[in-house]
Symmetry: C2
Subunit: 220 residues, 2 copies
């Protein structure tokens, strides 16, 4: 997540990079710029992010930003796309474990809470709140892509007779509500995010409740 040089290191005396860069460095350079943009976003918020600020933090030039990302919105779009990819792969891997469903769900719930209260997600969601196109992107590449993954998992559990769930989408929303409660909105509004222990406790409690509400228990 860090993107700038460690301040404890001796001050960077290298003169600014100039001229055509070595071949093959484009991807790393682009990632560095997105890192810089995310960091600026975390520190200053959507409206506080300036193209000049991002360029400076990445030791790039404004013109490169415009050449690569088109304009300011393009930069944020790229940022959202990258983070959505990371989130989706994380959730997928969490759900692909073959462990006991309760364990899988607890793992997923902890990951969800950690993700949603993490600085990147918080900054991006805050930004999206003030920009309709960004919000659409975030919803499209985030929730609307990750939700179905979980819904399919829950539907599979229902097919296997573990859960008594007829509407996977509703079940996903129930699980979400039990896990997240008002934590996300409070963190978005500036409260401190829960620590790891808190996250684990909340997640485990939520999953227990979820199972209590949806478990197929014919023998009771």
């Amino acid at each position: 997540m860090a993107s700038t040089s460690d301040p404890s290191l001796p001050p960077d005396t290298t003169p600014p990079r100039r001229g055509r860069p070595p071949a093959g460095a484009r991807d790393a350079r682009e990632a560095a710029i997105l890192d810089a943009a995310l960091q600026e976003l975390i520190e200053y918020g959507y409206e506080g992010v300036t193209m000049l600020g991002v360029a400076r933090r990445a030791s790039a030039s404004k013109q490169t930003l415009y050449a690569w990302f088109g304009d300011r919105d393009g930069l944020f779009a790229a940022l959202i796309a990258r983070n959505a990819d990371a989130s989706a792969t994380q959730v997928s891997s969490a759900l692909e474990s073959a462990a006991d469903p309760g364990e899988v769900l607890r793992h997923y719930a902890r990951g969800l809470l950690t993700l949603l209260t993490g600085p990147a997600s918080v900054a991006l969601n805050r930004a999206a709140m003030t920009s309709a196109p960004l919000a659409a992107r975030l919803l499209h590449e985030g929730r609307h892509r990750i939700g179905p993954l979980v819904e399919r998992y829950l539907a599979d559990l229902a097919d296997a007779g573990v859960l008594d769930v007829d509407d996977p989408e509703a079940a996903f929303e129930l699980l979400y509500g039990l896990v997240v409660q008002d934590t996300q909105i409070r963190v978005l509004l500036g409260e401190d995010p829960p620590d790891a222990a808190d996250v684990a406790a909340r997640a485990d409690r939520a999953v227990a409740r979820f199972l209590r509400l949806t478990a197929a228990n014919p023998g009771r």
Copy 2:
């Protein structure tokens, strides 16, 4: 909630009000300015609200805005305070009914969902996401003032033996999660708010689940 003149009326030919206003009009005038500010906020978002725009919509002068509210932040602070007051009184009245607890909770839950997905709350929450001082105010005058009201109600139900609740705050958060789920965040990100029937259905289902998880049922 409306604040400007009905566009179906004949065009307003009255010349702009000038000079010292009649005595005692201050309160209504201030409310009109806050209405205008809220409307601008709903239409254009936090960064899109300009002092000139608010002044024009309220047929006031920028200087009056500055004289009464100090600066831009002061205007928003006043807006938050007024809306928080309205919300608090609404919740209080909902909880003070002497009806069956389930009925009271359903009523409260419907009101909560309607409130949180309404244009005023959505606009204010979005604004708060991009301004830490605003967020602190919203949290302080909103959630941190309304939450305890509900918690006390739940604690009373526990004392009366209706609910099996040892931590009223946790119980409030559970109820909140069951009711709101991901509805608020989705509306904040631009999805259409649920209609009245949807709100009622979600609220009722949530309360049923809440009671199932917390009802004191010694005879089962």
